[in-house]
Amino acid sequence: MSSESSTVLSPPGRFAGGVHPPEHKELARHAAIEVLPPPAELALPLLMHTGAPCQPVVQPRAEVVYGALLADSDAFVSAPIHAPAAGVVQREGVATLPNARHVKTIPLKVGPHQMAAEELMADMFGGEWPEDGIADVAPEEIVKAVRAAGIVGQGGAAFPTHVKLARNPKKPVDTILVNGCECEPYLTADYRVMVEAPAPVISGARLAARAAGAATIIIAVEDNKPEAIEALRAAAAGDVKIMSVPTRYPMGGEKQTVRVATGRTIPTGGLPLDVGVVVINVETAAAIARAVWRKKPLTHRVVTVTGGGIAQPKNILAPIGCRYADLVAFCGGLKPEAGRAIAGGPMMGFALGDFNAPVTKGTSGLTVLTAEDVRRAAETPCVRCGRCVEACPLDLMPTRLALAARHKDWNLAKRHHLMACMECGCCAYVCPAAIPLVQLIRMGKVQMMKEVGK
């Protein structure tokens, strides 16, 4: 740990819109990260990131060790997949992910000899994380290590991280923004990582800055997580700035975080790169540190299992490819009042149809809501109240977009920037007419791409 500790900055910007739903983080907030014992079988989807699907590099019945490469792709925008446990590769299967992607999987029968829970935890987050010597690591080496480790954005979109870190002479980067907002209600996985393992997060942020050539490193955390801010502040030195940002959903959306933490506005349809910023999630930062210093691939991630329908809400260090059912069983099962399971949080998560679906690199949580939470409201006509327009953090007009999508009016959709929507769900949350705005917009995006292109 460093001698001089940094101060907590206040944000220079703000964003309009957004909502503040009940947080419900108290359910799993104090549950320290626990390791899920490896289940009997894992199923690793060949496509769990944004980009090209991987191809298996192992044959069925092959014995693999922990961390062995299972699948890879030649494409630039892709990320290899590694074995989260020692075991035997099974014949190719299929799985329907909660986002409705039907993908091929590599099933892995887990062997009897596995790493002990404490050992795994120490390997993931414990021990010393070098503070010096980052300047000696070549930026290309970091990008290469991140690619080899199969690291993707663990905030949800699962975009391959090495693509973001690779230097682009046309678009120089001056700021690495580590996103610890975790604005999604219920979820506490990022919070636990920040509290329990601030050192790898900070080390990973420095490595990311070195790779991207950024001088400024900011870790943005919502002000409803003072313990996380304190833990990071105590562990960070002067070059890493901790920023306390207001608690408001969707603060963790990258356009919002960048706007609030740097005061820069990303153009519609643009990326943080367009304003010289690279945004990475806190867990992704920890994974980068682990990939560079310990040469370990991304095989596990912290998943919050929470909600009123879960017996004992927990934050679990789960192997990628385990079933949601394994997580639920580890948390003491479902309560009788459980009504609906959501992969992720309630705002942006996907309703889970099948507990046998596998956990992927982008899975941040499992929220089981009670039947009372998900009481059905019948859709009624739009009353033109404009609440969705007020709530939209991207200054779009959700009611128009939904109308355009429902009636396949692609001219109207283009005029109102249908493709700019990030599906945060604020509009549907505030809609008094219970119109499934986000679903309509999502459907519209897919149909428009199919029929007329962007």
């Binding site: 190719e92 909660p98 986002n99 409705a100 149809g353 679903q439």
Partner: protein
């Protein structure tokens, strides 16, 4: 009112109309554009459904394309053979033998046979439900929200227990349903007979995975391929080569139908003629339904 004023006004109107009449008559001759009378004739021969099934914007643009750009005369799915014949006669080309294209839903599972169905509460269209996991286990089969039914301009599709069912008596083969299906399980098949043999499943997964989501899905066993060269199993689901399909020599194909363990090769099309002649079956006497509409109608104030 002054009678003079009335006469003046009437006279002025009369003079104006005579003048305008001459002007129009002159313009009609001066600005006359020579059009092929055959376009008009073709347009008159077409059914005028303007469905776009021919691939052109509407009947008029198809008529123009047939006469001027040499488009095939048998493109109109609504008009069928007689229309194609008439169009061919007007433009003076020979009609190649062709069969009417009709849609086939490559799924035959109703709600009872589909496993892993969830409580879906979202937008009730296939396009929306297709983006949600857990509506049903099978990610290839019919969703049953009726996007095809909504797209059909001829009222030829019904949703029966969650399965899109085509009424081949009403269907004109315009292909709107095949274009709108988000799962692409409706294809257009040349109907060489009133009833055609089709594959009633689209699931491309391995047998074990199919069994997990459907009780009657194709398990990709290739029994049909072994029985008849008409079938080719690719991606764990057979396709039928309709170029080779000979409705008069179906011995091998019928053997495949028998061999299929899932009974997934089915005949679809118009009901057989014998049935058609006896609606509702011969045994059942036709009775009037005396239920009044008062009993189950809601009081509307």
């Amino acid at each position: 009112m002054d009678p003079l004023l009335i006469v003046l006004a009437g006279g002025a109107m009369l003079a104006l109309s005579i003048g305008a009449g001459y002007a129009l008559g002159w313009a009609n001759r001066a600005f006359h554009v020579e059009t092929d009378p055959r376009i008009e004739a073709v347009l008159a021969a077409l059914p005028g459904a303007n469905c776009g099934g021919c691939g052109f914007v509407g009947c008029a643009s198809y008529a123009e394309a047939v006469v001027t750009a040499g488009a095939a005369p048998d493109k109109c799915p609504v008009g069928g053979a007689s229309c194609a014949e008439a169009v061919a006669r007007i433009v003076g080309v020979d009609l190649k033998p062709s069969w009417p294209q009709r849609p086939v839903v490559h799924c035959r599972a109703t709600y009872e046979q589909r496993l892993g169905r969830g409580d879906y509460r979202g937008e009730a269209t296939c396009a929306a439900a297709n983006l949600v996991a857990g509506v049903q286990g099978c990610t290839y089969g019919c969703l049953g929200f009726g996007d095809c039914k909504a797209a059909c301009a001829f009222d030829a599709i019904r949703i029966v227990s969650g399965l899109a069912t085509i009424d081949y008596e009403k269907c004109t083969g315009c292909g709107a349903c095949a274009r709108v299906c988000p799962r692409n399980i409706i294809t257009m098949v040349p109907f060489k007979r009133d009833r055609m043999l089709v594959v009633g499943c689209s699931n491309k997964d391995m047998g074990r995975d199919v069994k997990a989501v459907c009780t009657i899905g194709c398990i990709g066993c290739k029994a049909c391929q072994k029985a008849s060269s008409l079938f080719k199993v690719e991606n764990n689901v057979p396709t039928i080569n309709y170029d080779e399909y000979d409705p008069d020599h179906m011995e091998a194909a019928l053997l495949a139908v028998e061999k299929c363990p899932m009974k997934g090769l089915i005949f679809v099309g118009r009901p057989p003629r014998s049935d058609a002649s006896a609606p509702g079956g011969a045994e059942q006497p036709i009775m009037a339904d005396f239920k009044t509409t008062v009993d189950d109608s809601e009081w509307q104030g």
